[in-house]
């Protein structure tokens, strides 16, 4: 500790870690999903910063994560992303961590919690799915066929320029939060189309169903209505797969309740943690 190694803050830098809130509070680590970066959590944070040490980061290849740290081999499976998560926890020496993880981030968190249960005190899985592709052999309903996923990869190709566009975004209609506009829009556009494609494939072709049974960390599963990505059956499979997990249906519609219904989402998490919202 007296002789900090030059690469000590390596994971923090690599994953563009942001630390907010009360330094001595119980750490809450937010793990974003496919399609964005840590900015996705923006609306949820005010509910946590008063009591918690809030840690945000960008998954490899997303947001402002160091593009050089994206390693095709390491990130060819969700375990690579889980290792990144554990690296951040280790470097910040986070303990008894509450992980709030969205979408495919939820399975990254699950894999991290299985790999090193000692780190984590609570998992909160927001709109999770352990497998997106249907599995006829087991009668599993993930919501998508293999062809659907191929279409998504096509769709990403079609948006090659939309995702990389270097032109200044035309930010309009954010009178309630003008300070956000430019920076956040940039963050959304930061995604590298090639890595987004890789991440999409890893995300949508992964199968984490067997991993669920190995989770020993207390887990809260949050479900939304009309979720286009994580249908009810898939979310229920996550809940049933993790022994002792608690399933709560949020009063929110769509796949991103932390964006569309931040108050209800924060309230559900905080009340589960035994705190007032």
């Amino acid at each position: 500790m007296n002789h900090p190694h030059p690469t000590e803050a390596e994971a923090t830098r690599r994953s563009n870690v942001t630390v907010l809130g009360r330094a001595e509070g119980r750490p809450v680590l937010f793990v974003h999903g496919f399609g964005s970066g840590q900015e996705m959590w923006h609306r949820l944070l005010p509910a946590f910063t008063a009591h918690h040490r809030v840690v945000l980061y960008d998954q490899a290849g997303a947001g402002h994560a160091d593009p050089a740290a994206y390693d095709r081999a390491r990130h060819a499976s969700l375990d690579g992303y889980a290792s990144d998560l554990l690296d951040v926890c280790a470097e910040l020496d986070l303990r008894d961590v509450v992980v709030v993880a969205h979408s495919v981030g939820a399975m990254v968190a699950v894999r991290a919690a299985v790999a090193d249960p000692s780190r984590f005190g609570q998992l909160v899985l927001l709109a999770p799915s352990a497998r997106y592709v249907d599995d006829a052999a087991t009668g599993y309903d993930g919501g998508f066929s293999r062809e659907d996923i191929d279409e998504l990869l096509d769709s990403l190709d079609h948006n090659y320029f939309a995702w990389t566009a270097a032109v200044a975004p035309m930010v309009m209609g954010t009178p309630d939060r003008p300070e956000l506009g430019e920076e956040l829009t940039q963050a959304f556009r930061q995604t590298n189309p090639d890595t987004a494609r890789d991440f999409a494939r890893v995300t949508f072709l992964s199968d984490s169903r067997e991993v669920l049974a190995h989770v020993t960390t207390p887990t809260l599963v949050l479900q939304c209505r009309h979720d286009a990505l994580a249908p009810e059956a898939a979310v229920r499979r996550v809940h049933e797969g993790i022994a002792g997990s608690v399933l709560v249906e949020l009063d929110a519609i769509g796949h991103c309740p932390h964006v569309s219904a931040p108050d209800a989402t924060a309230a559900a998490v905080l009340s589960h943690l035994g705190q007032p919202a």
């Binding site: 964005s36 081999a73 060819a76 309630d176 090639d194 769509g254």
Partner: protein, 581 residues
Amino acid sequence: MAQEGAGGACQDDALFQQAPCGYLTTTDDGTLTRANDTFLDWAGYRREDLLGTSITRLLPVGDRILYSTHCLPQLLTVGAVSEVVVEVVAADRARRACLLTATRSPASAAGPAEIRIIVFSIPERRAYEQELVAALHRAEQSESARTRAEEDLRRQAVRDALTGLPNRAGLDAELTRSLAAASAPVGLLFVDLDHFAAVNASLGTAAGDELLVVVAGRLLECARASATVARLSGDEFVVADELDTAAAEALAQRVLAALSVPVVVQGLEIVASASIGAAVSAGAEDTAERLLHHAAVAVHRAKARGRRCVAVHDPTRTDAAVGRLRLLGELRRAIAGGELRLHYQPRIGLAAGTMTGVEALVRWEHPVRGLLPPSEFIDVAEESGLVRELGAWVLDTAVEQAARWAADPAARTVQMAVNVSTRQLGDPGLVAAVTGVLARHGLDPRMLVLEVTETALMTDPDAAASALRALKELGVGVAVDDFGTGYASLTYLQRFPVDELKIDRSFVMGLGVDDGAGAIVATCVQLAHAMGIRAVAEGVETEDQRLALVAMRCDFVQGYHYARPLTAPALQAWHRERTTG
């Protein structure tokens, strides 16, 4: 549609309805609240079909995912998205390319939040963009990103869906390109997982798939960034890179080491192992196909050598396919013509240090090539079914030899261990054949031990268990050979009446060198003792290994540290010299 009588509102409404682009509005959750006439005409819907439904229903699934994960969150946080390329599924199910730009107006006194969307039809721009993307990919030629970009374009055709690695077609393309461009030799490793069928059979194909994905990841980790790692089919992988023979062998060893790290699959820890065949290009005449063929032939030899090992293609050998056919014919004549020999390797009781048994090992005294070890012909025998005749000959000869020693007061009486192949074990006539051989030569059944591999046990576990029970009733002993290299779990082994576990030489050789190997050997010994059976270590070559095995309380050992396999007279001579000297 105009609801207001005032002229200004009327004009505004006409502008909305007849604007040169489609307009849609939705709530925050994507429910459509308005659609203009232009959009309805373009997409062919009636207004009442759309309002109240979700905008995502208008999008094909790929765009729907993008809209949910990308556009909607951006709208809700930033308030705008611009120029996103999507397709709209029209009423006639045709897809119309369009550009979508949207803003969100937050909730106010005037009403709830609203997302306002403009839809531009862009059939030409879409085609133009597709060309641009294709051109961009092409333009990346000669950069390091080139191969990656091309791979992306060809992904559907040349990728293996499970692991994401190139498939056979992808490998061919890669290999042809690297052979053409290479200034240095191109080396190719053909990696074939050992006993993979047993994983699928015992743990299910989902477990098998999981293992394959792990293996793919480990191969990628072993190889340099310049390498191509491909999955040919089933449990066959290829690693190709600019490598000379020495580098190819070194890489092969790294791969073996990486694969020997245990994998947890479906909650069970298993140790994968592979056999590797290596081939290195020698000149311009080496095509991708030839190189792959050479490596495939080499992997057959590696498997015959006892798996978990590496064989390098030797260009001085004759063409393998022809060679195999000729070998098969020669072997058939050899069995009939008395060219086969048995050699006997002593098995020593570790506590007393005395010989208690021997393992009978077949050799072929080839008229031209000299004395051949089984690795030179056993795989040909196995594949052709000739292994039954070979096995019958070995059993008969070994039992005859054991009976002769038992009847000779000058000779040391020893227990005779004989290897039984998968095919023999599956043969319903096995028990009758063993009974007949023992009776013919008058050998006490207790002096015979049959060695079967884990793989043989698991090929048809029920048949194996009933055959072994019948043999056990006869009094014949049963040993599990090459233990640790397959995937048999304890639960499986307990189904069989086994007397001995023979710990594979690859672990024994690692004693004192590799902590992992030491731990595996110790675990095998403990496992045997927990099951109330004997542990035998094969391949003991040094005094250090012997001492380590003594410390682990292993029961029996065999290996060059004591003696190589010997002819019958040489064995007795070795024994006399040892006991008198």
